[in-house]
């Protein structure tokens, strides 16, 4: 994945960049499966490698251009990125280690979900049960966000009807 990202940063052919983005999403989905996140991996593969690539290609077809040569060497952005990275490294050293059962992420709410799902909801897929039932309100908001995005795209890209020629369809 690191190689993919580096080539994306350096490449100037936009079509290649988009395809590499799709490959990157697919590799990320594989890594997510290794992290036992099967629902998330399926969504990331479908959305990242599928729909995102299709939308990018559609936009690229409408834009029809390549990336221009960068004017000056990007030293300042590189420095800024590395500084942010250093700050993040300093911050994450205090976080719990990989695969530590005592980490806060595994205490508090999660044992309650894992233990009580059988009696309260009786749906084996814990992620679906939490998403649809325990945190159903968040999912409602998310559905509304998706709808708003669709409405926004319609508002941005709607054809004006003052053209006198017929639309092909």
């Amino acid at each position: 994945m690191a190689i993919t990202v580096l080539v994306i940063a350096r490449s100037r052919n936009l079509f290649g960049v988009i395809v590499l983005g799709g490959i990157y999403s697919f590799l990320m989905a594989t890594v997510l499966v290794a992290m036992d996140a099967v629902d998330v991996a399926m969504t990331e593969a479908a959305v990242g490698a599928g729909i995102s690539t299709v939308l990018f290609l559609g936009a690229l077809y409408l834009c029809k251009s390549e990336e221009a040569q960068p004017v000056n060497k990007p030293w300042l952005p590189l420095l800024v990125s590395l500084a942010v990275g250093a700050a993040l490294v300093y911050g994450t050293v205090g976080l719990p280690e990989f695969s530590n059962p005592q980490a806060p992420i595994h205490t508090h709410v999660v044992p309650r979900y894992l233990n009580d799902i059988k009696t309260e909801v009786d749906v084996p897929n814990v992620v679906t049960a939490v998403l649809a039932s325990y945190r159903g309100y968040d999912t409602f908001g998310e559905t509304t966000v998706v709808f708003t995005a669709g409405a926004g795209v319609v508002a941005l890209l709607r054809r004006r009807r003052n053209k006198s020629k017929d639309r092909k369809a």
Binding site: M35, D36, A37, V84, V89, F98, N100, L114, V126, V145
Partner: protein
């Protein structure tokens, strides 16, 4: 503090700064959006990696397993992925409109044309 236990954070941070670099250092709008996508996926990894327990399994209840990886970050990240693609779609629609209005998707050319006085609105 052992660095070996934190290797997932290092991978995440590398992807994060790579995405950040693409967003701020490259002028092409479509490439910026790809970099933003990379940044978003690194954040997903940041949330999901601490949830994994070695020896555990995916959080689908079954008789054969007792140890499960934490399902809580999966729920949050599922929402985040869908919201991410929604913003990506809106961003691409904006790029298409910008292209039609300014005839370019390079950031510096767009700023140049915007600063010219008396430019008529082509949208």
């Amino acid at each position: 503090m052992s660095l070996g236990g934190h290797f997932t954070y290092f991978i995440t941070i590398f992807l994060m700064i790579a995405g950040l670099f693409i967003v701020i250092a490259r002028g092409n709008l479509v490439k910026k959006l790809v970099g933003l996508g990379i940044f978003q996926t690194s954040v997903y990894l940041l949330y999901i990696a601490p949830g994994k327990l070695v020896g555990g399994t995916a959080p689908i209840l079954s008789e054969a397993f007792t140890v499960y990886s934490s399902p809580l970050p999966h729920v949050l990240i599922l929402t985040a992925i869908v919201v991410g693609v929604a913003t990506l779609a809106l961003g691409l629609a904006l790029v298409v409109r910008i292209r039609e209005a300014y005839d370019s998707i390079e950031e510096d050319q767009i700023l140049e044309r915007d600063n010219q006085p008396g430019r008529e609105d082509a949208a």
